[in-house]
């Protein structure tokens, strides 16, 4: 619910800043690790958007996969089954470069 309210706030602020009067679509990047339940978030977003310029807007969720980067060989690879091991050099010093984000990417407004 708090996440849905923040999405509405961010979208409304962005639209207002661009002198738009109605939000049609909100595109959100949600990392796999954040454990977002799309159906639930879309439902909460609909409730929170009521009586705002985001009312009736479509919330599009793009679930981004977990991507690790090996600090040893710089290879980027999808992390499957939470196995943080580089498939190329078997390095175990892995930095997460995808799958942890939770942000409003852009909005479509008129």
């Amino acid at each position: 619910m708090a996440i849905a309210r923040n999405i509405v706030d961010i979208a409304v602020a962005a639209a207002t800043g661009a002198n738009a009067s109605r939000i049609v679509r909100v595109n959100v990047l949600a990392g796999q690790l954040r454990g977002i339940m799309p159906a639930q978030l879309i439902f909460c977003f609909g409730l929170m958007a009521e009586n705002t310029i985001a009312s009736g807007a479509h919330l599009n969720l793009e679930i981004t996969p977990l991507i690790g980067r090996c600090r040893q060989c710089q290879e980027d690879f999808p992390v499957k089954d939470y196995s943080y091991v580089c498939p190329l050099c078997q390095g175990e010093d892995i930095e997460m470069v995808g799958g942890t984000e939770l942000r409003v990417r852009d909005i479509e407004a008129e």
């Binding site: 996440i3 961010i10 962005a14 738009a20 939470y82 990417r105 852009d106 479509e108 407004a109």
Partner: protein, 223 residues
Amino acid sequence: MKINVMTDILEANDRIAAVNREVFERHRNLVLNLMSSPGAGKTTLLERTAQALRDRLRLGVIVGDIETTRDTDRLEKYGLPAVQLTTGSACHLDANMISYALPHIDLGAIDVLVIENVGNLVCPAEFKVGEDLKIMILSVPEGDEKPLKYPLMFRESSLLLINKIDLLKYTNFDLDEAKANARKINPDLEIIDISCVTGEGIPQWTAWLTECYQRKFGADSRA
């Protein structure tokens, strides 16, 4: 028209968390965000910790529960300054709730502030409250597969306390399996086995806590 945004959805929370953090720094508080499922032993751990740390580190607690002040009633018996936040329906504490609790606790009179989050393995991991470290408890009756089911919290935590190990003999909980699962999610996770009933592991836990405090404020600080 398309408008680029790229704003972090929890940015508003993170900003308040940063302000809380400044307040904690000013009072020289080490702040821990303690998370677990309901009934894993958060409050009992704090009772034990208060007894064990007496005269070494001064502990204070902010407790989040959906209803009742039972936890603060329990903690105050041990002389712990405790502030109760009843969240109503919210399943986690966020930075804003903590900022409202701060005027009710004398931060200058404590060294370590533990923020006892609402019992829940999901949402508390999402919201920073201004803590130095996130720590969590997994208790034996919950099962050894929990790290794989709730990866974010295990990933975000610095320390995992496996509690109720006195019950190991009555369950099919596999301690090695639990640790392997947790380290698969978070290879840097430190793990201590404890029992708040027998006291096993409590000295290791308070040593860890003391070391964190000294690492932050220098070895010549309290404790």
